[in-house]
Symmetry: C2
Subunit: 447 residues, 2 copies
């Protein structure tokens, strides 16, 4: 069972506004100590990775204002997620890291160096959640009048991938760096290559700046829910996130997606599919239920509406809160809305306020383990993105109470295997030939 | 005496090609352990800061090729410097960090978030070395046909500063974030402001994403040697680097610069001026001299020429190696060349190969301390950028041997003062009113 901790370097991530809970330490996000504690905890719980979400704007669609997001601490204030990774890496040996970064906000030439640096520093434990960005509030601050169209974003993302693959996979041969002190050769220049990329969106004639890192290309994550997003994921991703409210919906999405992977020419087991889930647990069912009720006291519908406004682009303040909404398929509609069809705004808010889109599961550790097993079997997922209600309390509960049960059942490792993040997931440090990263430019590397 | 360690996240920084020395650990730069060792060492030596240089391209002017740089490990391969800062911060409490970042390569909106994040994580220990970039090999890889003109770069840099100052200084009031669990207010939205920036190069209408960090604006470093660069430094910098071959040249540069600060309307003591220097020391004079001779065995003229080619844009392979070069003042000439006037290419290479532009000083710990004292008095500098010959050996020598002497003489602190990087330097966490950062947009913050 693959286990990811779902986090973000910001005020309130997916549960609004549970920072009001007396035991919550959300404001700690700014400090090194917060991330050291979390990393040690997750490695103790034998998690595969911590996944760091990110947005580069504020949620300002609901009520036509950013105020509901600011008051409720809905992913604002927010710091850059990349810098907590070296901190967490310095106190762990095995935990992987998934960094969200958009193909819209940073040039692929500098971004490739950033990820290679992190792969070196973490000794091959870095993953990249590829996003194409959705917030107009982010776009306008980097000089774009508004977010470019969905299709254009994915076309640009495809070329972006081509550039970074060329830099990571083809620019430096595996044995280019020799550090021969006798002969005075640090690097053999015949083994460093220009990538000569000249495309529609990017021109990168030169070589990558970094020597090959343990994984070269980071483990590729993707979470796009649109048909374009799914196709992109089927081509590139090694780990895909599903966020859906029920096991049945998830089962259908997963089945369709696994077909798409095969259609794209990759073996089905080249991709792991994981579902977002919010476990609330305690030693007994009654205590878990009481904890759930206590959490619900802090739910903020305004916070949830602010979040949904950013996700969907739809301002639910303009709709009767108790009237069911419909989903009309058209280009302007974001596919995330489909999941809300037939619900009233208030139902949507209550669904989303605790843990975001994924289901909340409540119970003693055995019940939680049963539920996770059920989801794996029924919906055919490979594991979970664990969403917290309060931080770090929800992760502490999961590690202390649920992980030992999963270990007893042989579902979670008792000790880590050695090797990079990809090696632990798929058995190889670097991508295999079926992946498009290995098909760009000249293939000078054999793995 | 201000003490900076001069470093870079790359193969060979300023001494070429001393990675050949048996005790050198240059290839360690890729690992967390290297930076943890260095940070602990520098904090033990009561250094003010570690300064991280950066370039985003390869040195490919000499011989019209990047090969000499690649063979000799001249700042290539190179990783991103920003990510070693959180690692070093996690094992220190007082050491400051100076990060080099160009106003050409990253949008100010995302860059501001990056620096605020680092200022939060380091608890107010971050500095920013503002550069405008000089390598065509970097420019062409981010989609620019070639590096924009010197003047244009500085004009753009001025507006860049305006944008980041607005984000750091005016967007969030000091008491905006309240985390009021009772009332359910994370942040008071009336205290978060749009910056409404609409300029020639950048349009940033929105608010900063991060809450106020301890220093808000990082401590501003600058090293530009041109007249534009000096003017920029006089306006913005709090810490200025001088790299010159003699105490006399340095004295003249410092005097002219201190005048320029006052002319720009800032108190002279708002800026500290430090000089690059390469100390080679051992318990006795004889041992120090022997160490120096041993280091010189590894000097690579090709490596030095590669470096000089990148700095100056001039390919010295086209010039008789033993004929003196002239400096002709014109727009295309970079001011760094002025320092080489009257030297032959071979003399330039020997000058630069060990420690770059600054002087090499050789002696026992007392002689080194004498020489540093002399420079401070004669050239009126506030301290030094300590350049290594081998890493981390040169820093170990300095910390173990020279720092105790400087402490005995009352020139270097025995214990750190409390507080942020700026507090230790100037007595305040944040910039004072005489700095241009406090004059942008509406001044909602009083310090």
């Amino acid at each position: 069972m693959y286990l990811n901790a779902f986090e973000m370097n910001c005020a309130g991530f997916q549960s609004h506004a549970l920072w009001r809970h007396p035991e919550d330490n959300t404001p700690g996000y700014k400090s090194i100590d917060y991330w050291i504690h979390l990393a040690k905890l997750l490695e103790k719980g034998r998690f595969d990775a911590v996944f760091l979400a990110d947005v580069l704007g504020v949620y300002d669609v609901y009520q036509g204002s950013r105020d509901p997001a600011i008051v409720n601490g809905v992913q604002v204030p927010a710091n850059d997620p990349a810098f907590v990774i070296p901190v967490m890496a310095s106190v762990t040996k095995h935990l992987g890291f998934g960094l969200t970064a958009s193909t819209t906000h940073e040039h692929p030439y500098t971004f490739a160096r950033k990820m290679s640096t992190l792969d070196h520093l973490t000794n091959g434990r870095i993953g990249w959640n590829v996003v194409t960005s959705y917030l107009n509030s982010a776009a306008k601050n980097i000089g774009l009048a508004q977010q470019t169209s969905h299709d254009e974003r994915y076309a640009r993302a495809e070329e972006y991938m081509e550039v970074v693959y060329k830099l990571w996979e083809t620019s430096w041969e595996e044995d280019a760096v020799v550090v021969n002190k006798e002969k005075g050769i640090y690097t053999d220049p015949s083994k460093v290559h220009d990538i000569d990329h000249d495309g529609k969106y990017f021109s990168v004639p030169g070589n990558h700046l970094c020597e090959p890192s343990p994984q070269r290309t980071p483990v590729i994550f993707q979470a796009g829910a649109s048909s374009k997003g799914r196709k992109f994921a089927a081509n590139h991703a090694e780990l895909v996130f599903i966020s859906s409210t029920s096991a049945e919906k998830t089962k259908n999405i997963v089945a369709a997606f696994r077909q798409e992977i095969v259609q794209s020419g990759r073996p089905a087991d080249d991709v792991k599919v994981i579902a977002a889930i919010t476990p609330i647990t305690a030693p007994t069912t009654e205590e878990a239920q009481a904890k759930y009720e206590y959490y619900k006291r802090y739910i903020s519908r305004d916070g949830a509406f602010a979040l949904v406004g950013g996700w969907t682009g739809v301002d639910l303040s303009k709709v009767d809160p108790d009237e069911k909404v419909e989903y009309i398929e058209n280009d302007a509609m974001r596919s995330i809305l489909k999941g809300f069809a037939g619900m009233t705004p208030n139902e949507i808010a209550d669904e989303v306020a605790l843990g975001g889109l994924g289901p909340v599961i409540v119970g003693d550790p055995y019940q939680i383990a049963d539920e996770l097993e059920y989801w794996m079997d029924y919906a055919d997922v490979d594991g979970f993105n664990i969403v917290y209600s309060i931080t770090p309390g929800s992760f502490e509960d999961f590690v202390e109470l649920v992980v030992p049960v999963l270990q007893e059942r042989g579902l979670v490792r008792k000790e880590y295997e050695e090797g990079t993040f990809r090696k632990k997931l798929f058995g190889n440090d670097q991508l295999t030939k079926s992946h498009p990263a290995k098909q760009v430019g000249r293939a000078i590397v054999t793995s």
